[in-house]
């Protein structure tokens, strides 16, 4: 079976055929990431105790980190409902990036294309950015109703076009920041490995681990910041 580009033919009428593609390598790696992210809490919450040890300590630390991140951006009163969203954003991007860098995907040979981090595909990063956009719109509308649209003329009405533009540049920058970082890192490491496979790529790989972790943090922080900004009302 050819995996890289699976094409799904939907046949609507005998005279017209449209086909839709799917990047199956992204789906496969994202399923692996989801499996990792679900296996960890299932194993760790098996025996929750008041005095934590080992794995429970780790997952509590992660939850505390995510809560702190969300609370810093959104304020004490309103951060609670958004912890799952920001947490999933941070964890999925983090585990995706690190799985792309650490897991030996090249061992699995595909006939077309290759397995890598799911975030090196524009579809994934744009999907996450669109979700963030929808989330902050929803947050603003839910909290302030239609007066949310007053924020477009908020400092002065002269800034209206810029504020509207911001609604497009926010998801654009979110998606391209993540996409560019991860894809570029993978390409550079691939080039180094093809040139000098032994020691030289390792600093680049370590840098890649560091920057991909930072990118996860930045994506989550910015998402929380946008949501907080749209909920906070007039200064």
């Amino acid at each position: 079976m050819q995996i890289e580009q699976l094409q799904i033919f939907e046949i609507d009428n005998p005279h017209q055929v449209s086909s839709v593609e799917v990047h199956a390598q992204v789906l496969i790696t994202s399923w692996v990431v989801i499996a990792l992210l679900i296996a960890l809490p299932v194993v760790a919450t098996r025996n929750l105790q008041t005095i934590p040890t080992g794995l429970q300590n780790f997952i509590e630390y992660v939850l505390e980190f995510i809560r702190d991140l969300t609370r810093t951006q959104m304020g004490e009163e309103e951060y609670r409902p958004w912890v799952p969203f920001i947490g999933t954003m941070f964890l999925s991007i983090f585990v995706s990036n690190w799985s792309g860098a650490l897991l030996p995907w090249r061992v699995i040979q595909l006939p077309h294309g290759e397995l890598a981090a799911p975030t090196n595909d524009i579809n994934t990063t744009v999907a996450l950015a669109l979700l963030t956009s929808i989330a902050y719109f929803y947050a603003g509308l839910h909290k302030r109703g239609f007066s949310y649209f007053g924020k477009y003329i908020h400092p002065t009405p002269v800034l209206l076009p810029i504020n509207i533009l911001e609604d497009f540049t926010k998801p654009l920058s979110l998606s391209f920041r993540l996409f560019g970082n991860i894809l570029a890192d993978e390409l550079v490491v691939a080039v180094f490995v093809s040139l000098v496979p032994l020691i030289v790529p390792v600093p680049m790989m370590l840098l890649g681990l560091f920057t991909s972790a930072i990118q996860a943090l930045i994506s989550a922080t910015l998402a929380a910041a946008y949501i907080g900004e749209s909920m906070e009302g007039h200064h």
């Binding site: 033919f9 046949i11 609507d12 994202s30 989801i34 809490p41 008041t50 799952p84 999933t88």
Partner: protein
């Protein structure tokens, strides 16, 4: 992607409204098949216009470009576009939302519950400790009061005892003094009486002596 309604592809679509998953190779075959049909039609048109030289040249150019288009379409099938948006995007959105639900129920809610319970328990214990310090202060005051009372009691007792012993001592002293005085008085009285007696005896003796002396001196 080239979508050409033609009889050649109806053979594949005759299987009805069924989505079928095929590989990239089949897509290439289908496009080439459409290309063949198209090229036949073009060649018929070319034969008809080949009489006129300028039209022939134009037709020649048009044919070349028209032949090139399916070839470009063919190449486009295997392109490695970077900005290749397709069905993956909504699938990732759906996966993210499902992952969010799963993580919320498996990780965030249980762990948050344990952490919040722990915070609550610690806060309760701290509040309890603060109350105990008040009680301790009360107990301390009580202890001090008891101590003070006890101390006062003992001093009072001591004083009383002191006074009593002093009084008894005084009484004894008085008694002995009186005894001594009485004895002294008796002794004095004794002495007086003895003195009187001796005086009297002396008087008698003096009288006797004087009588003797007179008798001796005055011889009669």
């Amino acid at each position: 992607m080239a979508v050409i309604p033609c009889r050649a592809s109806s053979a594949r679509s005759s299987s009805g409204r069924v989505p079928a998953i095929r590989g990239a190779a089949d897509q290439k075959v289908r496009v080439r098949y459409n290309c063949a049909f198209f090229q036949e039609a073009l060649q018929n048109v070319a034969l008809k216009v080949s009489q006129n030289p300028t039209v022939r040249k134009a037709a020649f150019l048009a044919m070349n470009t028209l032949w090139a288009i399916p070839a470009i379409a063919e190449e486009a099938e295997e392109k490695g576009k970077i900005f290749d948006f397709n069905l993956t995007l909504p699938i990732i959105v759906a996966e993210f939302l499902l992952l969010m639900l799963a993580l919320d129920n498996l990780w965030f809610k249980p762990v948050a519950k344990v952490m919040d319970e722990r915070d609550e328990a610690i806060r309760q214990k701290l509040m309890g400790v603060r109350d105990n310090s008040d009680e301790i202060k009360k107990l301390q005051e009580q202890a001090e009061a008891i101590l003070k009372a006890a101390r006062a009691e003992t001093t009072a007792e001591l004083n009383k005892m002191r006074r009593e012993t002093a009084a008894s001592l005084d009484a004894k002293l008085q008694e002995s003094r009186q005894r001594v005085e009485k004895e002294l008085a008796e002794a004095l009285a004794n002495l007086e009486s003895q003195k009187e007696e001796t005086l009297r005896s002396l008087d008698k003796q003096v009288q006797e002596l004087s009588d003797q002396i007179v008798a001796k001196v005055i011889p009669f």
